[in-house]
Symmetry: C2
Subunit: 206 residues, 2 copies
DNA sequence: TAGATTGTTAATCGATTAACAATC
DNA sequence: TAGATTGTTAATCGATTAACAATC
């Protein structure tokens, strides 16, 4: 597996977005410059990114086959090999994520959710919600690699610890806290405050 | 207003998080190295970041006064001058954002939300929800600077256009689409696919 | 052929990290 | 004083952009 810059990784889903739109419009080939224009990026950058993830070469004065390029990017991003996930904390945000139809296209499937307050078995968008006490056992038995944390800040570290001891490999953390995990566990933080900081700063600069 | 790297801007809310925790624990001063350790960052980087946003100098062998540093960062991020916002699209994600209590601490207040399907006036978490047809007029009259878009992809560009013609200054976009806006309008994209790409890629590399 | 586009090699730019003197 | 910490200047690193020959 090649190393790839995170910046590139962030751009790939955007390329995919453009390519699929173009395919819908009936196009069969596409140049890097075309993608770049649609996304306000530098064409050289796009070309380099594509070279990193595609096994196929582009054709001068013609570009690349859209279908093949889509497949290459999707393969690279793992969209065609589903990873299982669990979600912890079925509040408003948790529900929003459970209702989000996009995950399956991105190669992630939320198998089960856990909550503190569960009186009876129920489900959200066909994902069953269990009491948090059975989480460790279930995650361990099912060998689930991804945990999504949408609990309040106070509960986040404890939930994280349980997931880790159940053998989770990666955590997608929506709680505003720096989680402490063993070195080999991946943590990706989703942070509202970061985004707002950027927006309001740009706003103030004008 | 100084220019500041986006990377620094993203770290500032994290520093704030650590500083507030320390204050709660009763500490009065704090060194850059201390913050760096808590966040797994390079201490030199933290020191440089702090120097960029703080008007006060640190004291050798002692660090900085936590209270003053918190104030400096919050001032810099605009947490103490509230910006008004509107939210468009009261689906699951929209509701989650409306219910999120954190915005006011980050200097953003959602004044009103708009939806396609509104039979009668109602509200979510004390934010009134109106029919989208009155949006342009209301946003214009209230001179609201920030628009949050949480509508489906198909509707996003039209909503964006309306917001722009109502004089919006910045858009926080949760729809998976590259919005077309005039040069002077700020767009910040929030993209699930980006995060997932990073997580699954790291996962596959192991 | 001419022109758009490719991939690659070199130059530039910006952010991170290292080195170090100053100081409480 | 000694040691932790500061701020600053220089070195390193990585990503972006520019230049250019190759080619369909």
């Amino acid at each position: 597996m090649k190393e790839i810059p995170e910046k590139t990784l962030r751009r790939l889903p955007q390329y995919l977005m453009v390519l699929k739109d173009l395919r819908t419009e009936g196009y069969e080939t596409c140049s890097a410059s075309h993608i770049a224009e649609a996304l306000d990026l530098n064409p050289i950058q796009v070309r380099k990114d594509l070279a990193l993830v595609s096994n196929h070469e582009g054709v001068p004065n013609q570009g690349r086959l859209i279908n093949r390029l889509i497949k290459d990017i999707e393969d690279f991003l793992g969209y065609n090999t589903t990873s299982q996930a669990v979600l912890v904390g079925v509040g408003m945000l948790g529900r929003a994520l459970l209702s989000y139809p996009g995950f399956k296209h991105y190669g992630v499937e939320i198998m089960v959710a856990f909550e503190q307050q569960v009186d009876q078995v129920y489900s959200v968008n066909q994902v069953p919600v269990y009491h948090i006490t059975v989480m460790e056992n279930l995650v361990q038995r099912m060998k689930i690699p991804i945990g999504i944390i949408t609990v309040p800040k106070k509960a986040a570290q404890a939930v994280c610890d349980t997931l880790v001891s159940a053998g989770i490999k990666a955590i997608w953390n929506f709680a505003p806290i720096k989680l402490k995990v063993p070195e080999d566990v991946i943590v990706h933080d989703e942070n509202m405050a970061e985004s707002l900081a950027i927006i309001t700063n740009k706003l103030m600069q004008k």
